[in-house]
Chain length 191, copies 2
Amino acid sequence: MNDSDAGAARSKRADARRNERTLLEAAAAVFVTSGVDAPVRDIAARAGVGMGTIYRHFPTRADLIVAVYRHQVEACAEAGPTLLASSATPHAALTRWIDLFVDFLVTKHGLAAVLRSDSAGFDTLHAYFLDRLVPVCAQLLDAAAAAGEIRADVAAYELMRGVGNLCIGSESDPDYDARRLVGLLITGLAL
Amino acid sequence: MNDSDAGAARSKRADARRNERTLLEAAAAVFVTSGVDAPVRDIAARAGVGMGTIYRHFPTRADLIVAVYRHQVEACAEAGPTLLASSATPHAALTRWIDLFVDFLVTKHGLAAVLRSDSAGFDTLHAYFLDRLVPVCAQLLDAAAAAGEIRADVAAYELMRGVGNLCIGSESDPDYDARRLVGLLITGLAL
DNA sequence: TAACGATACGGAGCACTGTTCCGTTTTGGC
DNA sequence: GCCAAAACGGAACAGTGCTCCGTATCGTTA
């Protein structure tokens, strides 16, 4: 789908493929220590490449973030149907799935903060996360609504945005527990 | 409390007082059109003053934001006890007060986004809003808890942060309604 | 294997923003 | 009117995103 996808790059030159891997690893490392807002120069330096190279492979920061976390987002998306099948009730599945999502967000320094749609230049990130996860969330939501466990008037998109927003800053403030508030939100969903 | 408080400036020179007023008005105008993240230069230009002047009066952007919105924050804080006295139940008062707070946030382009504690340099803003509003929220929360209407294990600070976070980006996305989600959160608070 | 076009690289440089610093101007008391 | 203190203005510096183009590398073809 995106030519920065490392796997599909048979047509690229060997050095290009190598650099892409290096860049991905460097970015992942820098994101852990400095958050996803780390200066592009830092990532380039860590990978031992120039500025041009990083921008050629990942035109926007969002592309880089997407590439780094793609695996985890996929795993989260795939967990949806699995949970639905293995949980006692759709509501339980929804709760667990949201937990998964929240865990993912709060362990990625600053990631939740760039998920919001308004921050300029992050359309790609917003689009990818939401395109991938909203349908999964909708499936869980529909199942729970069909089972009469929750109200049916909240859209998956809105819920995901809300959960994402609640996760902002929760990694840097010991007095703010995003998990608890998200739990409250889900409780509020119940009929 | 803060020497950038326009009212208390009998000791300042006349031009300084005049510039402070001008700056406040310019900032308020620019905040409306460009949000609270507007370039400092824009505000200075709008006010017809130099960069030095704006920084002398308001050492950080947070000081300026606080000064601009102080009146509204005070009004919101004072509405707490009033609502508690005039509402049928503490829970109703809490709901209405939160509505007030949400209205305030979503109509100020980008304000909610800088309320989070992590964004560097906004400690003053974070501190002011929270110092002023958390006690009010706590009073409402305590009253509702004492009346047995809500659970008692959620701190006012946490709730305010959560509500603030939920308001992020709601002014720029027609598919995201912060009010509805905040409503859900408050619903989740009920026993 | 040598040459050559396509591909990719590196990093200087530009644009934009926050912030500081200091020479100049204005103010207000004498 | 004079002068010291107060305040002003904006140039200059620093950090960051992003572009551009001369150079280096790759891989294919003869």
